[in-house]
């Protein structure tokens, strides 16, 4: 989990959509993002949601699904147990303490606040574009992203690996920061859906990610994978 200042939640290409009941705020956030003056220095405004302008090849994402962001133990935070080793006077600790009760009560507004603050998928932006996170219910989060197009990969197998690896990592990062039971991930490229999969928290809990093949894992969950090849 990146430790960034709380005051600049929407820099770069990142885009978070929070709960459905809070769309106005999100639209404002999107408008703010469109405004070049609000972007971090040196960053360009995001492209319209379409297939990403692909570099010659896929960025290296070796074993990206094997790691994940640090878990936020909301029950610990609610009880005042600082197991994350944060400075008790730090803004991050105060923020987490402030939201713990409502997050554990399933408040979608607080989910959105946490996503804006923690930005769990921020480190994924070099692998995919227009990553959107949406809280459908206290139980479920959806993640959508625009993947690189298939011809960026050496072959269909590598591309499948890429799609599934990113999806798995996105799900792990979301599970790490919010107490949801399910994460749905949908990947598209060039306007076509390439992958749709629903991850279940309890299945992920005991998985040894060092030893899995992301494609097999995602397929075992009943994923729909549609490739052109």
């Amino acid at each position: 989990m990146a430790d960034r200042p709380y005051t600049n939640p929407l820099d770069g290409l990142y885009e978070i959509v929070g709960d459905l009941w809070n769309m106005q705020k999100l639209e404002e956030a999107a408008a703010k993002k469109q405004d070049p003056s609000s972007s971090a220095a040196g960053e360009t405004a995001p492209a319209a949601p379409k297939a990403a302008q692909v570099p010659a090849e896929l960025p290296s994402f070796d074993q990206i699904w094997q790691t994940a962001d640090e878990t936020i133990d909301w029950t610990d935070i609610l009880s005042g147990r600082n197991t994350m080793g944060l400075d008790p006077l730090s803004p991050r600790w105060k923020f987490l303490r402030q939201h713990a009760e409502k997050v554990l009560a399933g408040s979608l507004t607080d989910y959105a606040e946490v996503l804006r603050e923690v930005r769990p998928l921020d480190d994924m932006k070099k692998y995919a574009h227009h990553i959107r996170v949406r809280a459908l219910s206290p139980d479920e989060i959806t993640v959508t992203y625009e993947a690189f197009e298939e011809d960026a990969a050496d072959n269909a197998t590598a591309y499948e690996h890429y799609l599934c690896g990113i999806a798995l990592r996105c799900a792990r990062d979301v599970f790490a920061v919010l107490p949801v039971t399910h994460v749905q991930v949908t990947a598209s490229a060039a306007g076509k859906q390439q992958l749709h999969v629903r991850f279940i928290r309890s299945d992920m809990q005991k998985t040894l990610f060092n030893f899995i093949d992301p494609v097999d894992f995602v397929r075992d969950l009943g994923a729909e994978i549609t490739l052109d090849a």
Partner: protein
């Protein structure tokens, strides 16, 4: 929530201002709950060293240092304190520690350094000697240098200065942390007015309750589980309280470290709040589904009929045994006691030999756990020596057989859900009975290797022939009960003899108290039960001969009466006696006859007569013509 302060914390508070030498002993390797907010958050579980550091820094001590004979002086929590301490005592810090041997006459040895710091009146200093049990091999084998070292510590404590601080006057302190007090030389602490020993215990009921019902409660659950499950319990606090009470009962005797392990296990397993208590089974026994909870009331309703198929003529004994099982299944065992960690039930079977005591235990095991092998039998006549407890519980470290562990502890570790049958308990050495006291009271036992074994899922059955014979004033044995007596008379006589054995002969009424009203007296095998046993045994023999050898045995009514009268003539040896008679009057003569007639298979044999008075007994038989049957 009101702060909950443990007894040892209060003692520390009191005596750290009164005595310069404190010895902390007991459960010192555990973690402890810090009771009041300070440099450590309230209710946080921390190791003892951090606890002491937090406590003394909160109370205004300037310097807190820890000493280990393997490392030297250190302070992992506040290294600047160590630098000040080095300056004060004229030492140098190397790689974060002040190296110092415990033993020796050098001025740089730890006792000399400690003495200098205790004398200082500028900085209020606490020196904590960790794992002080291991500075010497044993107190009995100390050489002069060891004695000198402890003597210097004693002198250091005697000459402790008082320091003025902004929090008031503070006395320099020396604290020794030991596993057992007798790891230290007795002259160091006995009759020592400047020394106070503080015993650290495993968390009591209140501490455990605090952990599971206080603000720490959510920490036992994965965040998603808590979010999903807690709304129900927020609306039904009475259900939550019941759950927490049960957890508190089940965790009796556990350390804070174990409770913390339960917490981590529960989170990792994503245990739902309603299944909180299953995590205790998972931790103790490695399984989540408790066979006791999966027993159906329906199957137990017919348990008596099932048991009667194996044990004849013991109506009262079976009923009383099943009472104990019903108590266990309905969760009513231990309701009269504060402990829920006790065994599920305790039974003391007494009565004549061969009447079905062991068979009842095996039948119960099959009924409860689906397998007769869940009845683990110990012949206590093998444990008649005073050192036999090592066979049961395991030898202590350094002794032959240490690695093997104990027979009892190993068996229970392997099969925690079982019936433990201690046959002929009166033949065990009295020191072994002491071990049973702990098992019956606390439901746990620590083996020679230091592993705790739990008996809380077992039924413990003792069997005994006590009360069958009594000694008169001349020491001659004579029968205390006879077959002429009615069952109530037999029961009264045997019960009274069992009570006399524990109270008068052994002088251990406390063992009897643990058994309570669970002495079950088995009746003699009476005529009707004897007939049923004989009938069952004959049928079994006929069936097996047919199945295994295809030899069909026919016993006409007249011949059967001869066998019946001879086999049931003396019922004083019980069912086993009937079995012996069947072997002598039927099996041996019949096999002799079959051997002589070279009948090996596929024939029909009719036994015309049993020559029961012959020596050896014989049978008169004839073979039916082949094919005619």
């Amino acid at each position: 929530m009101e702060p909950l302060i443990s007894k040892w914390h209060r003692e520390l508070e009191l005596f750290s201002s009164l005595k310069p030498l404190l010895i902390l002993e007991g459960n010192v390797l555990d973690q402890y709950r810090y009771p009041v907010a300070g440099s450590i958050p309230e209710d946080e579980l921390v190791p003892l060293s951090r606890y002491l550091h937090g406590y003394f820094s909160d109370h205004g001590y300037d310097q807190i240092v820890f000493y280990s004979n393997l490392i030297g002086f250190m302070n992992p929590y506040q290294p600047d304190m160590l630098r000040d301490y080095a300056a004060l005592t004229g030492q140098t810090v190397e790689n974060g520690v002040i190296p110092a041997e415990f033993k020796g006459n050098d001025a740089k040895t730890a006792p000399n350094v400690i003495r200098r710091s205790m004398l200082n009146s500028k900085k209020a200093t606490v020196q904590i000697l960790e794992l002080a049990s291991h500075y010497i091999t044993t107190p009995e084998r100390m050489d002069q240098l060891d004695v000198n070292s402890f003597n210097l510590l004693l002198q250091a404590a005697l000459s402790a200065s008082t320091v003025r601080t902004i929090y008031g006057k503070k006395q320099n302190l020396l604290i020794l942390v030991v596993n057992k007090l007798n790891d230290l030389p007795a002259w160091f602490y006995l009759n020592n007015p400047i020394c106070k020993t503080i015993t650290l215990e495993a968390p009591d009921r209140d501490e455990r309750k605090r952990l599971i019902s206080g603000p720490a409660f959510p920490t036992f659950f994965d965040s998603s589980v808590y979010r999903t499950d807690f709304p129900y319990y927020a609306e039904h606090p009475e259900d939550l309280e019941k759950l927490q009470e049960k957890f508190v009962g089940l965790t009796e005797g556990m350390t804070f470290t174990e409770l913390d392990a339960l917490r981590n296990l529960s989170r990792r397993e994503m245990t739902p709040i309603r299944d909180l208590c299953t995590i205790v089974d998972l931790y103790k026994y490695g399984i989540r589904s408790n066979p006791w909870e999966s027993l159906s009331m329906k199957s137990l309703k017919h348990a008596k009929q099932d048991l009667e198929k194996r044990v004849k003529g013991q109506d009262v004994a079976l009923e009383r045994s099943l009472d104990v099982v019903r108590r266990a299944v309905t969760g009513m065992n231990g309701l009269s006691s504060s402990s829920t960690a006790k065994p599920k039930g305790v039974l003391f079977y007494a009565g004549p030999t061969g009447v079905g005591k062991t068979e009842t235990a095996k039948a119960l095991a099959e009924k409860l756990f689906g397998d007769e092998s869940a009845c683990i039998r110990f012949d206590m006549s093998e444990f008649g020596e005073s050192h036999s407890d090592q066979k049961l519980m395991g030898a202590p470290p350094g002794y032959v057989g240490y690695e093997a562990g104990g027979q009892l502890t190993n068996a229970v570790k392997k099969q925690p859900f079982s019936i433990l049958l201690f046959d002929e308990i009166e033949k065990a050495h009295p020191t072994i009975l002491d071990k049973f006291l702990q098992i019956l009271e606390d439901g746990r036992m620590t083996d020679g290797q230091g592993n705790t074994v739990y008996f809380s899922e077992c039924i413990i059955i003792f069997t005994s022939n006590l009360g069958m014979y009594v000694k008169d004033a001349l020491g001659n044995r004579h029968a205390n009960v006879t077959m002429d007596m009615t069952y109530p008379e037999v029961e009264r006589q045997i019960r009274s003899a069992v009570e006399d054995f524990f109270k008068l002969e052994l002088g251990r009424p406390e063992i009897l108290n643990r058994i309570g009203e669970n002495i079950v007296v088995f009746d003699y095998i009476r005529q009707e039960a004897g007939e049923a046993i004989l009938d069952a045994q004959i049928k079994k023999i006929i069936r097996r001969m047919d199945e295994q050898k295809q030899i069909r045995i026919v016993i006409p009514e007249e011949a059967f009466k001869e066998l019946h009268d001879a086999a049931l003539a003396d019922l004083s040896n019980g069912g086993r006696g009937i079995g012996n008679q069947v072997e002598s009057l039927l099996i041996n003569p019949l096999s002799r006859w079959l051997f002589e007639m070279e009948v090996m298979s596929d024939r029909t044999v009719t036994i015309d007569h049993f020559l029961t008075k012959a020596n050896p007994p014989a049978v008169v038989c004839h073979l039916d013509e082949k094919g005619s049957d």
